[in-house]
Symmetry: D3
Subunit: 287 residues, 6 copies
């Protein structure tokens, strides 16, 4: 995650939340009033982004803000654990607060859910992977949170991975034709993945020497049969309707990768608060 | 929601998902191949954004795409109900698909959850209102979905509303001082809202003639007492830990507004799919 | 006024004035030549923006520039009074000079005119307020200057305030219908203001419990009658054709707010110069 | 004035004035309600920008808006003269109204003031020229208005013209050194202009074969002497403290160009209104 | 190549070349004067971008311009062959001319050089591939031209491909450690490529099961030995100092891919002109 | 060359090359690992941009990077000469490497070719000048490199210079009409240049008192005749088909300026490498 890119995103989020300024805080606090605050866990979760994201939000708002003692990504919190300390102009701490919390709560939620899936398949040689079902505008951050939770990433956009789906196959008539069209156009650094709904399609994929076969919405039995047929000649990704209840059975079928849209579109936010500490204003200084 | 602003957002979301191009689809489909597709509900929910958002995603991707028969915002779907039909170059339909779905699923989820809260308080003269706990980058869209679901909006950013919170009061020493500082700075078009944690603070608010009093994390009994004390001299907003289980009791206390962060930070996505229809390519035309 | 937003504006203004570079100064001065300069009042006016705007222009051009002793906003200058001292690379001081002066002259002009209006109504419990008749691109800065001059602000844009005007009423048929349509859509944090041309419309406004009634182009007598009828049940704003000659009579009618487009669209620039001090170049170093 | 550049500016101005949307008008008008309006002169002035600027504002807001019968730039209006007719969705007409008026009033003001100066020097072979004392963000538009008023433009930014001022000369020690440094760096397509405060400096300029000599704050007598000395060997620009009262005397001294900052920093706005015409809404259609 | 992304680039290029407007053409041509022109080859080359790039430049400048009969990408021209016809407002044709030509000449140059390399290795099962040695700002376009010329692309940026180079290996101590660190972080859709300078390093790569081995600056004999050792267990890329004189020998060594920086950093421009046709202006209409 | 403008360009170039991050280096190097590197000439050339461009690329990527001992622009290198030393986080050095090299190689190539042309005409009072045939997006940088090589610049865009070409003349019927139209529109700071294909057109130019006459594609004999006819009454630019073989003959004809598109569109890249130095990672620290 490149820091310049991250800062561009954060600037936009701050602009959305702050608008032309904080009517309330700018009326009350002189610009130079210094204060400090702590971001505190209100429950147990896997933290993602205290240092790499939340601390950067405060720094983008005002480079004079100091950020201290961020909790390491991947740490499981207990209630009241401090995630990050910040110190600087109170007005800027208040302006950055909501964006920092909204991001940290969401990313920690994703890491926590990912960690739950990963725990379910401990012992299986399988990757838990995300999808493109991310929040528009937050993909890079959400996929970072998946990695923090112990998962890995699928492609980041339509340009850095190939996935030949049912539509593409239907248009071409055969998997062979679709694969041929793609293979002659793409960089050699990128693998070709093809979606297969049936064992017949798995067979076609093998004949085309595709790199990854996505078993789409198959039941574990059919998956196991597909794994047997593929026999190590391609990576195997299971996709479709995966839940905490079903993920272990899927892992047991022998697939290499299990991709789960819910990691990013259905992870509940974690509860995080901000505790403040600053001096009472000298009200006589008000002009 | 201004359309020029919306298009700017959509362009950014499409850039995130498409990158420099769709490696797969651009390899397979000639640029001029025309197709059509339908966005279809896979479950029952309150639709938000079929016309105002999803249709615009397709048009921003390619102005030649036609969008037909969008389902009216606020309609409750049944499975297989068509939300929108689109027709145009297949490559562009495929490029816009994921962004359109990701947005529509999320916004419909928010409208659906809002509608559930609104239904719980039917018969009470109370507004269900959102907060600033929205997804960074999506605030205007998510607040639109709240309105579709029957709710109303709290302030959109720190510049278009005033909320004097515990920090502001602590810094000033008294609610009176804080209100005075704010009142002399802000436009007369904007109301002053103050957070009150105790009945004593409610009393201070009344003495300052604030416009809105936010009862923060009070139980229904204390709220009812506050409502009685306020006696119509200010709008009353209840905030903090509101759930579907507790919202009716809160409404029963006589408050005017109930604000709920969960509307936007915890609404689950709705299940929506895209069904395609296009002709098989003439594979002999491939050069 | 948020500093990040301000810097974005300043960068654009500098780009407009500098283009790809300063052909003259870059040819003459080595990049490292240091100099200093003072922004000096050439006449008497109310200064606005020496620290908050002009100093920031120099810092945005080059963060190595030091800004010293800015005159406090609201100070009334006498000729030769120093508004700001700057020190740094001469090339960057020269590049920033014109934008800093153009802004400071304009903002001080607005503050000065506002102060004249405010002085005219000293003793009356009335606010002098601006409008949306600001220079495109400079609204936040110009409204800041109005506050420096002792005035207050009307809404900043069409999204952070409601003003139901004759067109809206005409389309709806009645004020009641227009107010109802708006009230159900807007955040509860925002007041509803309605334009009234007649005492009959004032009466309709009262029946709808609008928050602010704008008396549009009424003469002082009719205004006084309206004030009497409203009797404290709404804020009252006078608007239309206000001048230094008429403003006191309008204030005398008992209105709460007088809005004046001329504050921002007709304030003459103040005369401010820049006096320089730097060493003669060693012409032998020219290579 | 390139249209793509103009549209970028207008988009920014509309964003400033509209924010996320028009709370009032979007609540009242259905998006498809069509109306029409006329921009009407309320006084006599020289119009600048009805077609090239104001009409474009409406089109940028919504390409479906039709603009009709713009008054030709340079026309002198009489009260009630129609400057432009517009027709389209009422919501978009209302959103574009203020930006269109603010620009048209300002630009017409500049054209009108320029025309007054031009009229004063009719019969003299002299150009009335602007400066860089323009409103930040509006330079290209304001300089366009100067041309409409019969004036011509000085350089647009520090990169497309050379003006060696007292600072540059002081740093170099001599005009000769300053001119030499510049001449070896700049494109041959750009003239070198040098500011001269004394006849001695005029002489130095002539020895360096500069293209344009700016006589800075000289009285008409000294100017006439300078003109005589220069004797056609350079263009001559008079600058500093030019007013409608003094401009003819300056022209009489025989200079080629008179540059006037007031054209852009002190031109009063013209009075222009917008008259509307649309059908009453069917209030029963309100859902 | 996504069209929205392309249009953003073109807008920036036009802004660079046009600035605030075309002083010459806007002074001479009325905005509505229509003309037409043809882009014509002055020599023999492989055309790249007549339709996909040059035609889009004209359309971005003014959507009213019609583009006709673009020559198909990959066609080898003869002198005087027409590449594209355009028709529309003369001012906009002139404004777009230079950007369109500069791009088309450069891209055709790259396609032509690529085609020369491809021709040299006809008959060998090898890909001619580009590198990241592209012109900053033009990568997507230049890599497109490589494909037109019959080559294929290496990774587009540091995020869509992995290349473990000598620095990475040196820092980690072993190829094994470097590969392990990368493998656990990256999407499964992306291959791992490792640079090998010696046969010993080739052996280490094989032990780590890397996907692609880049033979860096090896001579053909060592390459042939490496190919023998790899024996189909990884793709093989030859890199470093490839020229038209040496490429066939390299292909003969049995590698799968030959990457050549010169394709994009050293391709000479092709000679293309623009022939015009428009009516003489009616000079009496000037005013 | 303004530094703020340069940084904006560099940010865009880095974004193009880095995308969302460096998959390889971010996987291998901890963010805080410090290293150093040297940019080293591999051959002899005229360096352009080591300090002003390449060093800035590293600083934009991470302000913590230190840049040391840049070689002065215009220095002729010998192989192994160090152009710049950099020190900072290894990840950021690696991310900035390719953009810095691509720019430095290209700019040094342009300076080197320019210097070759300049050397050919040593002793003649003539300028070697560039054209608008620059790489889209790099004009300001490439024209800077021309100056480093001893050349000068023609206009930077269509707005900062006038060049009346055959099309403009054809449309107007006569050079006189074209010049008149332009002269009344443009700033007095800008010269008028006219393209002349024949001695007859040269004569027309003289009658119109144009400032610069461009002799387009004339042979040296005709040029000499034109120079004689012009006789010092206008600057003379030779243009069209200039090569290292013909440039001295053209200079000998007595023209003032020789403009050469090849300076920017055909200069080969210089060979520059980057040598690294950093400590081996402690592989046990990998978590």
């Amino acid at each position: 995650m490149d820091k310049n890119m991250l800062h561009t995103m954060i600037r936009e989020f701050l602009r959305e939340d702050i608008g032309r300024g904080d009517l309330t805080s700018e009326s009350i606090f002189p610009g130079k009033q210094i204060g400090s605050a702590r971001l505190v866990a209100r429950e147990s979760f896997v933290v993602a982004g205290a240092e790499k994201v939340a601390a950067e939000v405060f720094k983008v708002q005002n480079a004079e803000i100091t950020t201290i003692d961020p909790l390491a990504d991947g740490t499981r919190t207990s209630p009241d654990m401090v995630l990050l300390r910040v110190k600087g102009p109170v007005v800027d701490l208040l302006k950055a607060e909501r964006v920092a919390l909204n991001l940290l709560q969401r990313l920690s939620g994703i890491a926590t859910l990912t960690a739950s899936f990963v725990a379910k398949v401990a012992g299986y040689p399988v990757r838990i992977t995300d999808t493109r079902k991310t929040t528009p505008g937050l993909r890079v951050l959400e996929k970072y949170a998946v990695r923090v939770g112990g998962g890995t990433n699928h492609r980041f956009n339509l340009a850095d991975g190939v996935l030949i789906k049912d539509n593409h196959i239907a248009a071409c008539g055969t998997i062979k034709e679709a694969v041929a069209r793609v293979r002659e156009q793409i960089p050699h650094t990128i693998r070709i993945e093809v979606e297969a709904d049936t064992l017949q399609q798995v067979q076609e994929c093998l004949e085309c020497h595709v790199d990854i076969i996505m078993l789409d919405n198959m039941n574990p039995e059919m998956m196991a049969k597909a794994v047997e047929n593929i026999n190590g000649c391609a990576m195997i990704e299971a996709s479709g309707g995966v839940s905490l209840a079903t993920v272990e059975a899927i892992a047991g079928s022998g697939v290499d990768i299990i991709s789960i849209g819910a990691l990013t579109h259905s992870a509940p936010s974690c509860d995080i608060g901000m505790d403040w500490s600053f001096q009472k204003l000298d009200v006589d200084t008000r002009s």
